[in-house]
């Protein structure tokens, strides 16, 4: 059975700790852009923890919401890409082929979630920080778009390994970096085609909803509302 990878984000567990943010950066060779570039909106965070204020002091609340690529089944970023750099894989992932991207930035405009980030300059790692780079993930050059891949390198590695071991992937065998690090287990990743997987069960929760569902993007990420 083909996989259909998805995620559940439990907002009742998320503590806003941003372990996911740094874990993703570490796993996926996301460059830091430095203070000057960050100040002009060039910082890249494939996953971010949105925070929203409600009310005024003293009756004030804050809510956190981790936002990453929603791996939309009807992804607006895909049809607009003239070079198929943003495209749909057989497993339903929204893949980004950096080599094919020519930097029109159209996909980023079309993405309602603003989860696509552009390399405004060639990324640089002050030596020897480059020794940390994950050899399983290509680094991007100036002028290309990048975004959360659902840690596709981990997915492929696990699938290849499972094939080599001639045994199916078990639920939980495979975690993207953000979910693996998340101390509160707010991020649960797995196969939506397996009705018994943790992510499938959570996605059916009555607390579940999709972000900007009304846009018809059919995200594969389900947000589980904070229980009051």
């Amino acid at each position: 059975m083909a996989h259909r990878w998805g995620m559940a984000v439990d907002l009742d567990r998320c503590t806003g700790c941003e372990a996911c943010v740094t874990a993703c950066r570490a796993e996926n060779n996301i460059a830091t852009v430095g203070a000057a570039q960050a100040a002009v909106g060039r910082a890249m965070h494939w996953i971010r923890v949105e925070r929203y204020w409600e009310g005024e002091f003293p009756d004030v609340r804050l809510t956190f919401r981790p936002v990453l690529c929603q791996q939309c089944d009807a992804a607006p970023c895909e049809p607009v890409c003239p070079t198929y750099a943003s495209h749909h894989t057989e497993e339903g992932l929204n893949a980004q082929v950096y080599n094919r991207c020519i930097g029109t930035r159209y996909c980023a405009n079309a993405c309602p979630y603003n989860v696509r980030f552009f390399n405004f300059f060639n990324p640089a790692w002050d030596k020897p920080l480059h020794l940390q780079l994950n050899p399983d993930v290509s680094v991007r050059e100036v002028g290309v778009m990048e975004k959360c891949t659902f840690c596709v390198q981990r997915i492929s590695a696990a699938e290849v390994q499972a094939k080599a071991d001639s045994k199916p992937l078990a639920d939980g065998d495979l975690k993207p970096a953000c979910a693996q690090s998340c101390p509160a287990t707010a991020l649960v990743f797995g196969d939506l085609n397996d009705p018994e997987s943790a992510v499938s069960r959570l996605s059916r929760s009555s607390r579940g909803s999709k972000l900007l569902d009304d846009l018809g993007t059919q995200p594969k990420i389900t947000y589980l509302a904070k229980q009051a």
């Binding site: 570039q37 094919r100 020519i102 029109t104 603003n114 300059f121």
Partner: protein, 453 residues
């Protein structure tokens, strides 16, 4: 009278081609420097990185795409106007058509550069082009950017033909008036024009076919440019009004550009006898009509958004109506509506100067309109956490300025090497107004003009 008038027409209109003043060189040098600076700025941007621009998350399109839409819009001056005027056989069109068609071609050339200028990796721009390649993949035909490629290339080809066809008899005229290298070059451009009845006939039918064919192309071009926006689920982009709204805006700005170009040419090339106040008067009426139409579109668009009260759209609406973009927005309204309507509604004010003033503000206003369609929406997409704003940086400003210089430069050169008013069409106009027996035609006219069967 006709003979002398024919000769005078020829003399007047060919004068700029045959005599070169110091002023011309100065002007070319001045404009050329600005254009060269713009090219340099772009090359530096390619070298140093796209980050030199003010583009940022989440405003990924700004000045460059504004310029793209603006110049493609301007290109609607010519072809549309002259095609329509040709088809309805408006007599007053004759001195106007070539000016207009030239604007089209140059504006398109400039506009078409922006999809390349704005690329993150412009050296790979040819990946947008559908051709069988070693990569074994076609571009994505679902992408409006690829539609742009088809639309713009078709439009450019069509408008170049549309401009060139009626230039053939004039090239022949220049050929016969010159010697040496000029003679040879204009000879080649004249494509062996002899002025035979058959040739005239073919030219007329070709023009007629082109005039019909170019209309849907022109309409489709700006519709497709509007699709670059309306196909994306971005607040206030995703709207059915965008096609006609963009086409109307394009024609609007196109006419303004034409009026301005004509006013300038009239003064500098001393074409007062050919470009009459009535021409401006008529174009002014057209501009007024488009201004009203534009106002109607904006009103319709804004009203539905406001009434619909959809949160994500309202964020954009508020930002433009009374937020950070309001100063630009209201400047746009003044430029595109208040000024042109107040001037052009009054016959007395619809003078050459009045039309030129109105056209100038319309050009400013339409540029702002393109900007205000793009930037506020991208600044205010659905998730407020990801809102951001945009500020242009020097490289974008320089390149923008240089496009205006490039337009002027191309126009100056064009007027230098090609009669900016179609000589033969003007003569036809003169003869239609005052028919003369064939025998009394001047030599020139005999050569050039044989009445159609």
């Amino acid at each position: 009278m006709s003979a002398t008038s024919d000769r005078r027409i020829t003399d007047d209109l060919l004068r700029p081609l045959l005599t070169t003043t110091a002023r011309f060189y100065l002007l070319v040098a001045f404009l050329g420097t600005i254009v060269a600076t713009g090219v340099g700025a772009w090359l530096y941007q390619v070298y140093a990185g796209f980050g030199l621009t003010g583009i940022r998350w989440p405003v990924f399109w700004a000045f460059y795409v504004t310029n793209f839409v603006f110049w493609i819009g301007i290109s609607h001056a010519g072809t549309l106007i002259s095609a329509i005027l040709r088809l309805v056989n408006a007599r007053w069109r004759r001195p106007v058509t070539r000016c207009a068609e030239a604007i089209t071609v140059f504006a398109l050339m400039i506009g078409a550069m922006f999809p390349i200028i704005h690329l993150g990796r412009p050296w790979l721009f040819f990946w947008l082009v559908p051709y069988p390649n070693q990569r074994g993949i076609w571009p994505n035909f679902r992408s409006p950017l690829v539609w742009d490629f088809f639309a713009i290339s078709a439009y450019l080809t069509g408008s170049v033909l549309f401009l060139l066809l009626p230039m053939i008899p004039d090239f022949a005229l220049v050929r016969d008036r010159t010697t040496g290298w000029r003679h040879r070059i204009y000879g080649m451009l004249a494509l062996g024009w002899q002025g035979t009845t058959k040739q005239w006939h073919r030219l007329e039918s070709a023009m007629h076919v082109m005039a019909i064919a170019i209309l849907p192309v022109a309409v489709s071009v700006h519709t497709i440019v509007s699709f670059d926006f309306s196909m994306a689920p971005v607040p206030m982009w995703h709207s059915t009004i965008f096609g006609p709204y963009f086409v109307a805006g394009a024609i609007f700005s196109g006419i303004a550009a034409l009026i301005l170009a004509m006013a300038v040419l009239r003064k500098t090339l001393r074409l007062e006898e050919y470009l009459h106040p009535v021409h401006f008067h008529n174009l002014g009426k057209l501009l007024l009509l488009m201004s009203l139409l534009w106002g109607y579109f904006v009103f319709a668009e804004r009203l539905t958004v406001w009434y619909g009260n959809e949160p994500s759209e309202m964020a954009v609406f508020n930002a433009t109506q009374h937020g950070a973009f309001a100063p630009l927005y209201w400047t746009m309204v003044v430029c595109n509506f208040v000024v042109p309507v107040s001037i052009l509604s009054f016959k007395k004010l619809r003078t050459i100067a009045g039309c030129a003033v109105a056209s100038s503000t319309v050009l400013v206003g339409m540029w702002l309109e393109r900007f205000l369609i793009i930037v506020p929406s991208l600044s205010h997409k659905y998730l407020p956490y990801s809102w951001g704003t945009y500020r242009p940086r020097p490289v974008e400003i320089m390149i923008t300025i240089s496009t205006f210089a490039a337009m002027s430069l191309l126009y100056v050169l064009f007027a230098k090497f090609v009669p900016i008013i179609s000589v033969w069409e003007l003569k036809v106009g003169a003869h239609e107004a005052h028919p003369v027996p064939a025998g009394e035609l001047s030599d020139d006219a005999q050569e050039m003009w044989r009445p159609q069967p």
